[in-house]
């Protein structure tokens, strides 16, 4: 219960940050020197959270959490919500299927994994959502995709570290899981 409440609060905070604070900040910054960076950058905190659940939960719990993320985030104004669930589920299945290879003990490989998964997620999202062909998608959005994936890769390990720390205190005594980082499991 404590865990569910915590993640409900996390999602609430993420929704405010993602739809109000980040766009406003980036809009303000996109008129300056780094206009290209901020007008093309997206920070999708819900995607980062979905990856975390896919990595750090078993199939059933991961699926339920990913579904919850889809339900919560669909209220945020995603106009391509059908694309959202497709991208989420594809990434979830890939992570779950190859989870045994993702025993991260350090942020660096985690960054690479999130970078690649983020590109995949966005490509599926834009392809399904906007119906753009892969060639034109890459020619138009390549810069944006790489930049966004790079920033996701940078920030995700820190978010995962904090969440793993919290999970280690609340649920790991009930659920045997492989953690993303080496944290004491009680």
């Amino acid at each position: 219960m404590k865990n569910i409440l915590f993640y409900a609060i996390v999602m609430f905070v993420f929704s405010i940050v993602q739809t109000v604070l980040i766009p406003t900040l980036f809009d303000d910054l996109s008129s300056g020197w780094f206009s290209f960076v901020f007008s093309h950058l997206t920070i999708d905190l819900f995607m980062i959270l979905a990856f975390y659940f896919a990595f750090n939960r078993n199939f059933f719990h991961g699926f339920v959490w990913n579904l919850s993320i889809y339900i919560v985030s669909s209220g945020l104004g995603y106009t391509w919500s059908s694309a959202n669930i497709v991208a989420l589920m594809v990434c979830f299945l890939i992570i779950q299927g190859s989870k045994i290879h993702f025993a991260f003990q350090h942020p660096s490989p985690m960054r690479v994994a999130v970078f690649l998964l983020s590109i995949l997620y966005q490509v599926i999202y834009i392809r399904v959502g906007a119906g753009i062909m892969l060639g034109s998608l890459l020619s138009i959005h390549l810069g944006s995709l790489l930049l966004t994936a790079f920033v996701h890769g940078l920030i995700a390990p820190w978010i995962y570290y904090a969440l793993t720390e919290f999970d280690a205190r609340t649920i790991y005594r009930f659920e045997i899981q492989r953690t993303l980082f080496t944290t004491p499991i009680r």
Partner: protein, 273 residues
């Protein structure tokens, strides 16, 4: 000193003072008397010293009191400045809101529409899809497919309606389409978003179309969503005419989407009634 001499001296002094007294009464004195000079020469330095000391003390006291008062006054003034600054920011915000609202109310739209003014509260969660959330919804008479405009031009259309909020798909979204005409030549085409931020692209524009840079593009009204002749943007670039099946052209919208604060939703009048 013997008694005789004492008597002589007393008489001399009395005579001297009587003479002085009478001379004062008879004529105007030209110079101070001797005794006055003596007294002044003794008392004046002391007077000066006392006066200076007094002045010094008084000055110090008054300065101290003044400083205390100034300090207090300074604090009060600082508080006042801070409060006035806050008010200034607030009034500037009001002024800017007032100007924006004035522009909105001066908006000229077809009489068949009712204007519903709404505020933007959030942006879409990613940069790939271009949408905003506004503060008016079903209870204000809004429904999906209504046109959303601003005093600068077309903003987008409503794609999702909640009780008190709505989601607006901006014309810059890759899935957005708007039927337009070039104001000068009446060349017809369809604009789509998604190429670059704040840029629209013509779709299926005939190679023979009479279109040049800086041409004004307006809504054709044929899509049944956007009011006819409402400004959309200006042609930013026109491609090479000999290449491909269609002519490529990009349009820069008049609306600066990152600066939107208020928008107007156009509701058809019959619906409102």
């Amino acid at each position: 000193m013997n008694t005789k001499l004492k008597r002589i001296l007393v008489v001399f002094f009395i005579g001297y003072f009587i003479l002085q007294f009478f001379s004062l009464r008879i004529q105007k004195k030209h110079s101070p008397a001797f005794h006055e000079k003596v007294i002044v020469s003794i008392t004046a330095p002391a007077q000066w010293l006392v006066r200076q000391t007094y002045n010094g003390i008084a000055q110090t006291l008054s300065n101290y009191v003044f400083l205390v008062r100034v300090k207090k006054e300074n604090r009060v003034l600082k508080d006042q400045i801070s409060s006035l600054n806050q008010k200034l920011v607030y009034y500037r915000e009001l002024e800017s809101e007032n100007l924006r609202l004035k522009r909105i109310f001066n908006l000229t739209v077809d009489d068949s529409f009712v204007r519903v003014v709404a505020q933007k509260i959030a942006s879409g969660p990613t940069r790939f899809e271009q949408s905003i959330r506004i503060t008016k919804g079903k209870k204000h008479g809004l429904r999906e497919g209504l046109a959303v405009v601003s005093p600068d031009g077309v903003v987008g259309q409503i794609v999702e309606v909640y009780q008190s909020y709505s989601d607006v798909l901006l014309i810059t979204d890759p899935t957005s389409r708007i039927d337009v005409v070039v104001q000068r030549s009446r060349a017809n085409g369809m604009l789509a978003g998604g190429v670059k931020p704040n840029q629209l692209q013509f779709k299926y524009l005939s190679k023979e179309s009479d279109i040049y840079e800086e041409d004004i593009v307006i809504a054709s009204g044929l899509d049944g969503i956007y009011p006819k002749a409402f400004p959309v943007g200006k042609v930013a670039a026109v491609g090479v005419r000999d290449k491909g099946l269609f002519l490529e052209a990009t349009v820069r919208p008049y609306v600066e989407f990152s600066n939107i604060e208020e928008v107007v939703v156009l509701t058809p009048k019959e619906e409102e009634q």
